[in-house]
């Protein structure tokens, strides 16, 4: 048994390329997510069509351009050009100042501005229009003087668990989950399918090792690897992005271990139903990768999905693990709050182990 585990370790560590990726991937992903991926809008390219060109329209244009949200990329001459610049794809918004902007504003209090956004990206379009409107309103108050409300209700906001609204806080739990799933489920399913495909499984089956020992031996190296990966990500999140672990680190690691075991059981199950590496990989790929990204609440909130899909999400172990990680890291709660999620993952683990044991054949066809 011990010898068998050592053999498996050799198999994995001998393969330098895989090792580099295995340890490089978490680092690269956390850094990319942390620095490059953000749902905020910055430096959107806009065009301005100014029919007035007076001191006030220029002043307001300058205000808009000098904000962090916008970059002026083109000045248009007439409305026919709008279609052209949108089709070329760079420009996301066009701001049109009506005739006699300054005079209308000062004399008649009735100037007009039209904002046209390229809503082929609806989210960005909506945000850009909101930002622009905000800047114009500020300008109005500045010019017209603050009109104080006769009765004023002040609203104080408190952003709980993530006061600086950093996107990383949202993404780190997801990255940990994706990587654990990948390393554990995919790698085991492929490594077992590989022995089948190459015919070396036969050698193992006729050896005095029991099937359960074979599976456990296959799985242990990946437990160790996944665990190291999880710790790497947590350290990066903490030191590079200042993401705290409010709750108990030991509880977090224990839950991670549970999730790793679940993923490994899933991997073994996949390998028992597939006869080649390619099949195992494609099943892992389509059953794990995209649903893990999209049906787990990693990027898109589950509550907004149609009812049927919300049910589907409940079947994703990743959904429950992401909740656990967020709760422990950001909310700082203890086991009392997350026992349900923990229980569900434990149940799934038992299910996958049970299925694999039933499916595992000691004979070859």
């Amino acid at each position: 048994m011990k010898g068998f585990i050592i053999k498996e370790f050799y198999h994995i560590f001998r393969d330098v390329r895989t090792m580099v990726i295995l340890f490089g991937m978490p680092v690269v992903q956390v850094l990319i997510f942390g620095f490059a991926i953000s749902t905020e809008i910055k430096d959107a390219k806009i065009a301005i069509l100014d029919y007035s060109r007076d001191n006030m329209s220029l002043e307001l244009s300058n205000k808009i351009i000098s904000s962090d949200y916008f970059i002026l990329s083109e000045i248009l001459e007439d409305e026919n050009q709008i279609e052209t610049v949108f089709k070329a794809g760079k420009i996301k918004e066009v701001i049109i100042f009506g005739d006699n902007f300054a005079r209308n504003l000062q004399k008649e209090q009735n100037a007009s501005i039209q904002i046209i956004a390229d809503a082929s990206d609806p989210n960005t379009a909506n945000l850009l229009v909101n930002y622009t409107t905000g800047i114009i309103r500020n300008y109005m108050t500045e010019k017209m003087g603050k009109q104080s409300m006769p009765i004023e209700i002040n609203t104080e906001y408190k952003m709980l668990f993530n006061p600086e609204i950093k996107s990383v806080f949202m993404f780190v739990p997801g990255i940990i989950t994706i990587l654990l799933m990948l390393v554990s489920a995919m790698m085991t399913s492929i490594s077992i399918a590989r022995e089948k495909e190459l015919g070396t499984m036969e050698v193992l089956l006729v050896s005095p090792l029991k099937p359960i020992q074979i599976v456990v031996g296959k799985v242990i190296p990946y437990v160790v690897l996944s665990f190291v990966n999880a710790i790497t990500i947590l350290l990066l999140a903490f030191f590079v992005f200042g993401m705290p672990v409010q709750g108990s680190v030991i509880l977090l690691l224990a839950e991670s271990l549970l999730f790793i075991i679940m993923a490994l059981a899933l991997g073994v199950f996949i390998s028992t139903v597939s006869n080649s590496q390619q099949t195992a990989m494609m099943i892992s790929m389509f059953a794990l990768m995209l649903p893990t990204i999209l049906l787990s609440g990693f990027i898109f909130p589950i509550e907004n999905m149609p009812e049927v899909l919300q049910w589907l999400c409940n079947l994703m172990p990743t959904k429950w693990f992401i909740i656990i990680v967020k709760d422990i890291m950001l909310k700082g709660v203890g086991l009392a709050h997350i026992w349900q999620e923990t229980f569900i993952i434990t149940g799934m683990t038992a299910l996958f182990i049970g299925l694999s044991v039933r499916k595992f054949k000691i004979r070859l066809e």
Binding site: D15, R17, I21, G24, M25, I32, F33, A36, I37, S38, T39, I41, K42, G89, Q109, A111, S112, I113, I115, I116, D118, A119, S120, P122, T124, A125, N126, K143, M144, M149, I151, E152, T155, Y157, K158, M159, L160, N162, I165, K166, S167, F169, M170, R194, N275, Q277, Q278, T279, M281, M282, F286, M289, I293, L294, L295, P301, E303, N304, P306, L330
Partner: protein, 370 residues
């Protein structure tokens, strides 16, 4: 030419003989297109709200009923204790807490000034900002209502009329944006992975030796490997587009011919990348892992989920190598805006350059000697 035909025949027989792979290649991506398109939305349609009414006056009840009447909010519970509400927030029973402090009504009447507290679960920062904006707009409405009711004043209209228009997608429908992107993703994933695993599989099983000793030339072999996947991926794109039209009613303003023309070059890039990975690795496991590594990075940086222009300079520079980013751009521009070839020429020539580069590298790396 005949040699290539024979290799093609062999490859097609191999693909269609594998009964587990067939549904994975053809059906799963289309099912995913249907399912995943529904998941990918940043819209917040429903906010669970917990109201802590410590004033329990007519005014506070009035405000609470405004939130109850809003389509965005579902009031999940009431209490007078903030601690109870915060507990609910920690347990994910609610997303937001509206706290109406004692004396709310009295202050409105006597001081003409009052305050409210809104607490939001901000783990998902962008969702939290949206929820705050929803709450604020209801509170503002309520505020101007009481001004009208109590003082009989109407606010003067703004001196600048701001009107906004949303072109190409006036209803801000999220499917219109996501479906073309997800389609690109599925076609790419299938073609890169299939080609990445193909040659390496022959290496691992040892059948590559048999091919190496035949008089087949390098380019014939590579072409024979590429063409079947190229055809499969193109037909998948066609199916996907039909589905997008029928199920999601995605507008198709531009020329479909142009889409397939760019797609045919794009798939050469995707397949070339797969082949290159295939020649660089020795086992399917390595190859799969390497592919997975690149795909995740390409997908996340492609602008499918998050806007590219808000990424830092270095990330945008890296995106010059990101095949997925180019094609998602092209698909969205042609389908949704009806862009013509001159609008997408930059993307097209970049893809062409990548196609030549990657395939040249792949042919160069492929050695007939073991």
């Amino acid at each position: 030419m005949r040699t290539i035909l024979f290799i093609l025949q062999k490859e097609f027989i191999q693909i269609f003989r594998n009964k587990t792979m067939l549904p994975i290649i053809f059906i799963v991506p289309l099912v995913q297109l249907m399912v995943l398109s529904y998941t990918a939305t940043f819209e917040i349609k429903n906010v669970n709200l917990f109201i802590v009414d410590q004033d329990s006056s007519p005014s506070s009840r009035d405000l609470a009923s405004k939130f109850k009447g809003s389509p965005f909010f579902t009031v999940v519970d009431f209490s007078v204790s903030y601690t109870v509400a915060e507990e609910a927030l920690i347990n994910n029973k609610t997303d937001q807490i509206l706290q109406i402090p004692p004396g709310f009504e009295k202050e409105i009447i006597s001081d003409k000034k009052s305050s409210l507290h809104v607490t939001t679960n901000a783990i998902n920062g962008s969702a939290a900002s949206l929820m705050n904006a929803y709450a604020l707009s209801i509170i503002k409405d309520y505020n101007s209502n009481i001004i009208v009711e109590q003082l009989g004043l109407r606010q003067p209209p703004d001196p600048i009329r701001i009107s906004s228009a949303f072109w190409y997608n006036p209803e801000l429908n999220y499917f219109t944006y996501m479906v073309p992107g997800i389609l690109v993703l599925l076609v790419t994933v299938i073609s890169v992975f299939l080609s990445a695993l193909n040659i390496v599989r022959e290496k691992e099983i040892g059948t590559i030796e048999q091919i190496n000793v035949t008089p087949i030339r390098k380019y014939q072999f590579i072409l024979g490997k590429l063409i079947p996947f190229w055809i499969i991926a193109l037909s998948e794109l066609a199916f996907g587009l039909i589905l997008a039209k029928l199920m999601f009613d995605i507008p198709m303003l531009g020329s479909l011919g142009l889409i397939f023309f760019v797609a045919s070059v794009y798939l050469l890039v995707a397949l070339g990348l797969g082949l290159l990975i295939s020649t660089l690795t020795n086992t399917q496991q390595q190859s799969m892992f390497l592919t997975y590594f690149f795909m995740i990075i390409f997908i996340l940086m492609s602008g499918l989920f998050t806007p590219v222009q808000s990424m830092p300079e270095w990330a945008q520079w890296m995106n010059k190598l990101n095949l997925i980013a180019y094609f998602i751009d092209v698909m969205r521009m042609i389908l949704l805006k009806g862009s013509a070839f001159s609008d997408i020429s930059r993307q097209f020539f970049s893809l062409l350059a990548l196609a030549i580069l990657l395939n040249a590298l792949a042919v160069w790396r492929y050695r007939k000697v073991a």
